[in-house]
Amino acid sequence: MAVGFAQWGNDLYTGRRSYGIVGRRKIWFTIAALLVTVSAVLLVVPGLNPGIDFRGGSEFTISGVSTSNRQAAVTAVASIDPKEVPQVSAVGTSSIRVQTSNLANTQVEQVRLALADAYKVSKDSVASSFVGPSWGQDVSNKAIRGIVVFLILVTVVMALYFRAWRMAVAALVALGHDLIVTVGLYAGIGWEVTPATVIGFLTILGYSIYDTVVVFDKVRENTQGVLEQSRFTYAEQANLAVNQTLVRSINTTVVALLPVGSILFIGAFILGAGTLRDIALALFVGLVVGAFSSIFLATPLEVALRMREPAIAAHDAKVLAARAAASEELGVDVSVPSHAVQLLPGGHLGNQAQPRRRKQGRR
């Protein structure tokens, strides 16, 4: 498999094999638009399910307990509401604190009884109260302000680094796509949103831009001086760049997904609900979507934007006209270079190819 993969990589690099990723951009745009639409719908119905950290919940304090077994509390709460995953911790030496996120008023009383039963204390030793969110509105507001400032700065940095604001715009669109799809899918699965989830989303925010920058750097390299030649259009050079970074993109995504996948697997199937599962799901989805968007969305979009630039459009027309003329002249159709877009480098042809030594005496 590795041999085949390396060979495939070679072919992609030299352009012997090439996927028309940029050329078929309408398909990718449609897929991306579809994904975003579905995710947007998922964000409204069923919508995100914020956990106790975001909207507060009920807190039960069981005092005078003899055991600090936490599982009893989890079981007791689950017997009332199977979907509920309480946070249980011991307070001091003889009390246990149980926090739940969304219990109806009638359920609160039931849970109180169940907890009293589970820990063999009287009902009066179980106090219940409402707790406010630890991740309140102000925390969210500050995080959002941070993200907005980051996005503005990163746009400026990318526009300066690539000397093309269109690249920054394309990267931002790809980022928006990644975030909406990741959050939407999370909402669709219906797991509770915890601070761990949010941190997962934030990681995706950084990773998506990171991944796009790597691909764009190759595009920038390939399209440098594209206007000074008339062999290839901008779109073809960008497509070559995407093909050439395809191996890198696949390798990186696999390497990043392996640990996240193993956390997700262990978190979801062995541990059940909890921090690990939440963050791993957010990351897993985000990494896959991020890899998709950096290849299929960001570059094609950038090309689509670029082709509106008068200089690029004029250049495209010139290249195509030259090709048409060449086809006519040669009688061979060269208007669509199927592959081998990459220039083949010259190589050493062996000592046989070197000029012979002159015969002696023939000066």
Partner: protein, 581 residues
Amino acid sequence: MTLGVLIVALFAAIAGGVKWSNGTTAPKLALDLEGGTQIILTPTTTDASKVTSSTISQAIDIIRQRVDSSGVAEAQITSQGGNNIVVALPGKPSEATLNLVRESAQMRFRPVLMTAAPTPTATATPGSGPTVAPTLSNTPPAAGTDASSTSWVTPALQAQYDALDCTKPSNLVGGGGDDPKVGLVACAKDGSAKYALGPVEIEGTEITNASSGLKVGSNGVVTNEWVVNMTFNSAGSAQFATTTARLAKLTSPQNRFAMVLDRLVISAPSVSAVIPDGRAEISGSFTRTSAATLANQLNFGALPLTFTVQSEEQVSATLGTEQLQKGLLAGLIGLVLVVGYSLVQYRTLGFVTVASLALAAVISYGVITLLSWTQGYRLSLPGVAGLIVAIGITADSFIVYFERVRDELRDGRTLVGAVDKGWSRARRTILASDAVNFLAATVLYVLAVGGVRGFAFTLGLTTLIDLLIVFTFTHPVMMLLAKTSFFGDGHPASGLDPRRLGVRGVRYAGRGRVVTGTTEDLTVLDVPEVSSLRAAVPARTIAERRKAAAEAAEAAAAGADAGDATEAEPAQTTSTERNES
């Protein structure tokens, strides 16, 4: 080499911390993994107003800022039952940290009587003589005395003032009550000066609002200067007008008033004019941040709340040790998979990845341990997950690098040349992408609070470690490996075999040698049917084209009576074509 020195220094610092201080050999854990101390506070207002949910959330904001300012420990602050505030701090927080939470900030305005350099004054003032401290009189002047009168500096206060050393960190902690009716000696919050102050003239609770912004000039033009604006309520305005009227007539330093927060002077501006309307503008050499900080502090002081501690108890971790163990197990499995994958993909070269990742892990562990000792950084479960994810981002740098080296090999370079050229290209990409990550980390760290801040810290840390490893380990190792015959000659197991990378034909290998690709390896690598324009157009050489053009011209000349011009034209055209392609 540099890296070795760094690692040794890092672990030496940790060892030193363990031996001579309260450092630990393992990172400290956050609230969710270790548990901590839970304090329940009930706020009560100092004026008669009611505690509303908005004052509660303001108080939570203040406590969070205080806790965050003491490090990156992720504290959990919630409201409970609508009138209590629950603060959970990880581990066993120090008394100073607990005080930070428990105490209410008291902001008071006092006139400045004396100010001096922060160090103790060596000799006491001539008047006091060699008398011993207990005999010093400490009778404040009569109640009606002018607050700016130096008579507030009683001999006892003078002795305190002389002895005060504001360069000692212990004197810059603040806290403790102060009697508003007598004078006070205090340090500047940054330890840059010490002050002797008169009695309190205005309480901080008289401030209705404070904000920072750019100074607006008299003609309404916004200038470049940062200022802090504050507004007093009506009682405060009247007080402030009397105070400024008196201070404006005095000379420095007695024309200054000090804003004292928790017994520390946060600012001591001078008064240049009477401010009758209770709207003061403090200008000076502010930066954006220092102006915002001062405005914040003024707002803190304006909050009419004191906290009573209801209970202070130990809480256990909310997540069992099981979660951490399973998480680490998952990370380990993931790491093994990553190792396996890179060995399959990059053969022996995969070991460079593995070694680099291992080094990155060691350094991350060391740095986190060191920071949890010096900065109070604590590792939460999301933090652990973040570190596991960092494997991907770190490995990406190597993948980008290796792929670039392979690309250069495909172009027919020797390994040494390919490493050189590939590095210079990969470096750019790695720097650019890591810069983006670091930017995200910095912005989120500066602007966000709580858990997001902890995440940003981890992200920034792993990005820097990634750069460090790539620059000081992976690349030097590659350069060394490129010189060995195993890699340099492209052994099939090296992962850099030029034949497998599709290098066709003969390649110059240096020192007068050439390497020939063996034909059996090249079965799939036959030179492709090149149908690009370059291959198609030069099917005819320039000479051939000129000949064809000349023939055509001759035919034309024979047919019609065309001039010399047409003869020259075709040659011209072909040469332009050549230049373009």
